[in-house]
């Protein structure tokens, strides 16, 4: 069990393009375990490896951690990328690595994501709604992109997060 701290901007790893990872990498099981442990210990629904200090194209997503959300359940994916997206909308999103603030960004309500499973199988997923948004956010992390790169106005698109009751 290794819960690693979530790195906060301006940690430079968050702005770096992450490197591809191979399913035969002998360190992969450790990376995955750390990702799952860190996700379980966080209030979020997804994590990208750079957020815990690994500059690798590895994400974990489980939107069912949010009450009422449905999706594919827990997914661990290597080298994910978006093949296609449609139905743009503006959503207000936050990020564990940029605490206390949320921003209005343009995302897509539906996406086709291609990735590799930890077992080395290619997979294509159709994701929609909240799960599609989570994928776009995490794949941005793999490119070194934060929601701060996507907002268009600090006065109308950036908000201090409301205090949790």
């Amino acid at each position: 069990m290794a819960v690693r701290p979530i790195l906060l901007y301006p940690d430079s790893i968050l702005k770096r393009r992450a490197a591809p990872i191979d399913s035969s990498d002998p360190a992969l099981p450790t990376f995955i375990e750390d990702m799952l442990d860190s996700l379980a210990a966080s209030p979020g629904v997804a994590l990208a490896a750079p957020q815990i200090g690994y500059a690798l194209r590895l994400i974990v997503v489980d939107v069912t951690r949010k009450k009422g959300e449905q999706g594919h359940g827990l997914l661990v994916l290597l080298n994910p990328h978006i093949l296609h997206f449609d139905s743009p909308r503006i959503v207000r999103e936050g990020c564990l690595s940029v605490p206390d603030f949320t921003g209005n960004v343009r995302r897509y309500d539906h996406a086709m994501v291609e990735a590799t499973t930890p077992e080395g199988q290619r997979t294509v997923l159709s994701v929609s709604g909240f799960e599609a948004l989570a994928f776009q956010h995490e794949i941005d992390h793999l490119e070194g992109v934060l929601f701060l790169d996507r907002i268009e106005s600090l006065s109308t698109d950036l908000f201090r997060r409301k205090a949790q009751g």
């Binding site: 906060l8 901007y9 301006p10 702005k15 940029v98 605490p99 206390d100 603030f101 992109v145 701060l148 790169d149 907002i151 268009e152 106005s153 600090l154 006065s155 950036l158």
Partner: protein, 85 residues
């Protein structure tokens, strides 16, 4: 649309504005915020920049890239498509 953000320090506005001016860019809108935590404040600046038709955004982008190391900021530039109906 130009996003500049990084650890808060003096000179960020001045150096970004200088580079935009050197590329004949006109700053038509700018706003700034300090976010992050009290221990680690992050300065965020968003600028709308109008470039003359003969000026390629890529040249401005390259010049801004140099700021990343000298000022310790992150920079992203994206073009806004103008549509007329």
């Amino acid at each position: 649309m130009l996003s500049v953000y990084g650890a808060d320090r003096p000179g960020i506005v001045a150096k970004v504005a200088r580079i935009v001016a050197d590329h004949d860019g006109n700053i038509t809108d700018v706003n700034t915020r300090v976010i992050g935590t009290p221990e680690q404040p992050v300065y965020v600046m968003l600028l709308e920049v109008l470039l003359p038709p003969d000026q390629e955004p890529v040249q401005l982008e390259r010049a801004l890239e140099a700021l990343k190391s000298s000022l310790g900021v992150d920079v992203s530039l994206r073009t806004i498509e103008q549509l007329r109906f």
